[in-house]
Symmetry: C2
Subunit: 349 residues, 2 copies
Amino acid sequence: MVDDQPPLPPTLADVAELAGVSRQTVSNAINSPALLRPETLARVQHAIEALGYAPNRAARHLRTGSSRLIGLRMSPAQEFTADATMDRFVHALVEASREAGYHVLLFSGGPVVAGERPDLLAGYDALLRSTAVDAFIVTDTYLGNPQASWLAERRAPFVAFGRPWDDETSGHPWVDVDGAAGTRLATEHLLERGHQRIAWLGWREDSRLGEDRRAGWEQAMAARGLATDGLAVRVEDTLDAGWTASAALLDTAAPTAFVCASDTLAIGVLHTLVARGLRAGPDVGVVGFDDSQVAQVVPPGLTSVRPPLEQVAVELVRALRRLLAHEPHQAEGVLLTPTLAVRGSTARG
Amino acid sequence: MVDDQPPLPPTLADVAELAGVSRQTVSNAINSPALLRPETLARVQHAIEALGYAPNRAARHLRTGSSRLIGLRMSPAQEFTADATMDRFVHALVEASREAGYHVLLFSGGPVVAGERPDLLAGYDALLRSTAVDAFIVTDTYLGNPQASWLAERRAPFVAFGRPWDDETSGHPWVDVDGAAGTRLATEHLLERGHQRIAWLGWREDSRLGEDRRAGWEQAMAARGLATDGLAVRVEDTLDAGWTASAALLDTAAPTAFVCASDTLAIGVLHTLVARGLRAGPDVGVVGFDDSQVAQVVPPGLTSVRPPLEQVAVELVRALRRLLAHEPHQAEGVLLTPTLAVRGSTARG
DNA sequence: CTGAAAGCGCTAACAG
DNA sequence: CTGTTAGCGCTTTCAG
């Protein structure tokens, strides 16, 4: 434990000296290599290699005004739900960002004061004012969330994962997953397997996301001319709510299958089936939404609608680059179609 | 879509002008407020407030050499396992970092070239050379992982989540969870519930982490004078391996309970029980490790060892601050004790 | 306690 | 195509 100071990284000047050129030429070699004579370029690149040089990000940021950082707010982790979908999304986003030369900066929403509603905007504000990030990815676009309009007001560059439900004219770029298409897929899958009395287990009516997903079930049922009366129920997105509601539904409407707005609710259905000695799949079909890890490992495997998160991340970053380059973005946003991961919970016999 | 340029954030000079002082005085008001006369300080603070000023991070970074950023490498997400523990940890880390005035920068390990082993170090190297982060949190400290020694060699500041299994003398700060204590807790819990033939379902022998966890089971069994012959098996950390191995173990050794090295393996046991018409809890006790979301929601609830990730994050950040302040760190690292989340899979009757 | 000057490493404008 | 100059916004000397 003698001299623990890390060696100072080489600067542009060091490279210039070694290559026998001016600092500016080194800068050009990195940012506009076409300007250099091939011979000079090679010499500079060799020096860069030899010294292990990489441009200092702070200096570059100060000079260019771009931090090459994308801010993402981590919403508090939900325990006792199945929606660990954030994990997969963050991975995908980091990967997509890297390919575009960006890093992801994580932040949370300021100190949580007991008794007070946490300030969702504090984190954005601090980052914005200190010019720490070039742009934000906004994920919680549920109705009434002030983030999007607040950012738009401040002219902060951002792209939303989720449609602007509350404001059709907001005009910011967004990417979303077509929930209706997903549940349509789920319902059709159950219909193909011979189910007719297919129930909907969804969220409360004020959730636009939930209504979107519900619509897919309704459409698929209507397309077959099947009645849906008494087959739908709307509850909170909790395990217990799914448990209770599915038990009640089995008693009142005797469905042979459930399409659910989330894996959390679907797992609730599985609990009901276990309690009644029914088998998920052969006895009662169950489909979730999110394709969470839980869906993948829970016995007998939960069939689930899988959002294309990798694709979402790629589209978000693409929209972001366009935005930062001040290119006009497509007015309508990007809507991606999920797939269906079929597992034991919809197996017959 | 007229003038979409966000307004330029105010600078130190703007604040100085408004407050009628020099730029230096504003800087002092922020960094060494004790130096100012209370009256002046109040005036400056008022100006800061009025303008919504926050110091430009790039400029500060360039000047002080500190980015106030902590680098964390996202390892590729595992599908079909229960270990979504990263999510909870990242949250906790973001929170702990915020309280210390740091943000978390996420990165991944360079481009993955087909056929080649991905370069774990590329991401670290790039960040280090461009002085993008002040320090790293390293999470994959399994045996043979080159990250720690590579970083140490470069004198890069880092703290490890996980003991330096391969090198007792490595001398870098670390924080870890006492796996043996966790499985001891798990085993004692089963013993209290009347189990005697308690099996161990763990990882391959070359996993030091797995051996640590196994030791707790052995200790608890030995303390009661119970034999463990034929009751232990070591497999890969996959659902299928847990499934197969537990089935074999039930046939050969007839255990009444399983302590597992991971939730993934424990879920494998649940699959075996379902297939045999046995009930987890009343018929066969099962305990996992990680307290993943899966453990929380899978019927009938998986009892699991819960690593104190929030505490881990706090200790990691504490060690990091000490390291960056060049204070001597405690030689031994910090070992934290997990708790046991008791659920239906260990309920009797 | 407050003000003036220097410079962190880089790139955008110019001059050669 | 290459070299010189200036300055991004901040903090750290050093004088007053």
